[in-house]
């Protein structure tokens, strides 16, 4: 008997003014020990289907199915007892954002032990001991301490490990992972995916991996369902889906993995569009020391040099907390730098007054990650796009609106959208509006801070295509801040790798992907998910200490740099710099 049997499952949500069909008659089964991937964009019904399986949907959801069975129990008819057995023991779930998945006012140990005690008759002490063993199993080193930590004291990656430990605590027959790595950095993602695969094999569980990321699918599952608008488009073994997709939507998804663009030609003018020289940011932080406080400096960015040549796209990559966003904000003078120069068209703008800075603001614009909070909800799209013209006093109101309408078309939206408000648009459409607003002044520099990381794959491809088209048309110089290395590979001309507030490597894109020198760059590239299940492999991960220990060493003769005790950026090939020790 299959572990999960779903036949003709339909879910609709009652709403003001009617019902929305989220799932329109899907059927699938899952055998014990099998791993199944469900891939689709947001709103495709992939999470809703699995929540229906555990009856986790809100009361406004109407669920019908000819069959909805989990571990032999009819889910729809399950009473209190059955439900408590199904949830946790038959199936356990891990969720997208580990930061919000734990109750903030209880310790990690309490929350795992409470799960164990909800399903098994054990004492509190035994439950805690078991929780500790589980934390050790998910490779948390200081498990005994972590038991007494509150969720806010752990990083996202650590919390997701704790979440997995909690899911394992009742030895579930199937583990449902709902976008388990979407909120995490690429290196942490690779670690978590590998951990899930390992424990699946070790505990003999079945796995349902819900994701929008084909890379995650390629890494983890045997069989795939492709969902689109509440229906299953295609189903088959993972290799077949990647090699011989039958459905258009699947082909579209796969094409998004292999986008590629012409490199930007560069400009005739050798003066860079933007140059950051020794740019640093430190924050004063206070720690408690007995009755008093002691102050220390936290260096978010340590003396970064970045050159953005004209008509080129330069990527800044690195994990969260590496200082890449702070660098972008400082370059725009949206955050004040602690020291260093920001040179635009040959002039240092780091110390200019707001009035003196205003003409430079026209030349530099930014697009943010979260398009929803970046647009004023009370303004129409035409007003939003025309506002920069208004601020800089360019043209009459009539001309401003005319130009905004032109830009709506230029970013691929209809002119009739002019009177709409941001909440009426999808994430991709809002990001188009943000791009139009940034480019309407005709800037020469555009900072794009993770512009696509909140978007679905297919939409992401469209937005990247739009950015590249406009970059080429306008000869823009673009600073592309991202942790998405596959986009960086296809879009950008050169790459700056940041790690703990420093630049550790810098090289033309092709070179950095072909011949990375710094151990952190290598770790980052190694963590990129496979684009085909054939490329699956076991990875080994380096700790921060191991990365520091593996810093390359060069001699004075090789680099021409003076020897120093600390690592320094040295040029090892044309345009290729890497942080290394230089010895005599």
């Amino acid at each position: 008997m299959p572990l999960v049997e779903i036949e003709d499952l339909k879910v609709s949500f009652r709403q003001y003014g009617g019902a929305v069909d989220a799932v329109r008659g899907i059927s699938f089964t899952l055998e014990e020990g099998e791993s199944l991937g469900i891939v689709g964009e947001s709103g495709s019904g992939k999470s809703v289907s699995c929540s229906a399986l555990l009856r986790l949907l809100p009361a406004t959801a109407e669920v019908t199915a000819t069959k909805l069975r989990l571990d032999g129990t009819d889910v729809a008819k399950a009473g209190k007892e059955d439900l408590s057995r199904l949830r946790g023991r038959a199936a356990a779930m891990i969720f997208q954002d580990p930061m919000t998945a734990f109750d903030p006012v209880f310790t990690i140990g309490h929350q795992i032990a409470e799960t164990i005690q909800a399903h098994r008759r054990v004492s509190k002490r035994e439950a805690r001991a078991e929780a500790r063993r589980l934390l050790e199993r998910v490779e948390i080193k200081n498990a005994a301490d972590v038991l007494d930590y509150y969720p806010h004291q752990l990083s996202g990656g650590m919390l997701q490990r704790a979440m997995i430990a909690m899911a394992l605590s009742c030895r579930p027959k199937v583990l449902i992972a709902d976008e388990p790595t979407t909120a995490l950095d690429v290196t942490i993602q690779a670690q978590i995916l590998q951990l899930i695969k390992e424990i699946q094999a070790e505990f003999g569980m079945a796995l349902i991996m819900i994701t929008h990321d084909l890379g995650v699918i390629a890494e983890t599952v045997d069989r795939v369902l492709v969902m689109y608008r509440g229906e299953i488009m295609e189903e088959g073994p993972v290799q077949q889906i990647f090699d011989a997709p039958r459905h258009d939507y699947t082909r579209q998804l796969l094409a998004s993995l292999e986008a590629s663009f012409e490199p930007a030609p560069g400009g005739a003018d050798p003066t860079p569009a933007l140059e950051l020289r020794g740019l640093s940011k430190s924050y004063r932080i206070r720690r408690r020391a007995g009755l008093f406080h002691e102050y220390g400096d936290f260096h978010a960015v340590r003396s970064v040099d970045i050159v953005l040549p004209r008509n080129r796209i330069v990527a800044i990559v690195g994990e969260s907390g590496s200082g890449k966003t702070t660098t972008g904000l400082m370059a725009m003078r949206l955050t004040d730098s602690s020291s260093g120069e920001i040179v635009v068209d040959g002039k240092d703008i780091s110390g200019l007054t707001p009035e003196a800075l205003k003409p430079y603001r026209r030349r530099m614009q930014i697009v943010f990650q979260d398009s929803y909070s970046a647009l004023d909800p009370m303004m129409t799209l035409a007003q939003i796009i025309a506002e920069p013209l208004h601020i800089h006093g360019i043209g009459t109101p009539r001309e401003q609106t005319g130009k905004a309408l032109e830009w709506l078309e230029r970013v691929g939206l209809e002119r009739s959208y002019a009177t709409r408000y941001p909440h009426e648009l999808s994430g991709g459409q809002r990001q188009r509006v943000a791009i139009a607003r940034a480019l309407i002044l005709g800037p020469s520099v555009l900072v794009a801070d993770e512009p696509t990381s909140a978007l679905d794959v297919t939409v992401k491809t469209q937005i990247i295509g739009l950015l590249k088209r406009l970059q080429a048309e306008m000869g823009l110089s673009m600073l592309f801040i991202s942790h998405d290395l596959s986009t960086v590979k296809s879009l950008t001309d050169s790459v700056v790798v940041m790690y703990r507030g420093r630049v550790v490597e810098e090289a033309p894109t092709a070179r950095i992907f072909a011949d990375p020198q710094h151990p952190y760059t290598r770790a980052l590239l190694d963590a990129i998910p496979a684009t085909n299940p054939r490329e699956r492999r076991q990875r080994s991960f380096l700790s921060a200490e191991e990365i520091a220990a593996a810093t390359p060493r060069y001699t004075v003769i090789q680099t021409g740099a003076a020897p120093r005790a600390e690592p320094q950026l040295v040029t090892i090939a044309p345009d290729h710099r890497v942080e290394a020790y230089v010895t005599p």
Binding site: L83, S84, M93, T100, A101, F102, D103, V105, T115, C170
Partner: protein, 309 residues
Amino acid sequence: MLPYVLRRLLSVAVTFFVVSLIIFLMMHSIPGGPFDANDMPVSAAVREKLMAQLGLDQPLHVQYLRYMWGVLHFDFGVPYQSPGETVIQLLSRAWVPSLVLGGLGVVIGAPLGILLGMAAALNRNTWIDYFASTVSTIGLTIPVFVTSMLLILVFAVWLNWLPASGWPQPERWILPIAAYAAIPMATYARYTRSAMLDTLSRPFVTVLRAKGLSENRIVFQHVLRNSAIPLVTVFLPMFIGTATGSIFVEAMFRVPGLGAYFVSSIEKRDYPLEMALMLMITFMYCIAYLLSDIVYALINPRIRMGGSE
């Protein structure tokens, strides 16, 4: 935590003296004095002697410093309207009914409000929810003297179950306590409902369900604890506000409490009593907010563990 508390205590002291200065100046800037002709028909000589006796002929700063020096020694002077006792004696006599009735009003009203708010949040958009929000809207919008009047009309006049007014027999407490309880109950019902709904919509509640916990455990242990954080912080200030007596409630139920003195001390330019009342309330509010902030930090690990603030 300790340096934080010390710093806050220092700011309480500063607030206390700033408020005392402002009140003192405002009090004396009102035209007239305690022994004006129409209040007290005495001869000019007698009036002058009285003023000199009470130190009212001194310059203002001397009067202020003298009074505050007394305050530091817990000497708040003698009330002009009741010269047979000290201000402290008057307050400790008059405050008892206010504290008992107002305090019990909050202590009974707040938990009822929490229950009402919980019932509303857990049965959102059902008749229970509508009933609870109707009750709390009524409690917040109808003035307390109207509530008092209705209570007297229904329970004392029509039903004849309870005495309409008076003090100190416990059966006379019931109606004023009910009148006092209306506002804390209504406030708490609203706070609790929105705090619970907010918590219930957070992702961790889905996680708790997905791991198979019973609905009771989720609500009473996790949701309530998270929702309690904003609820705890409003309790003490609300207690202080109600337990110092309401002039309306005390007038309606003829309770010999503190409420009436707030008005009479101003009307009669009873400077020592007026200062004492205001300083007492200022001090209690300061301490109430300080304690609330400490309790808030204690039940919220993000604040407790994350450094001093």
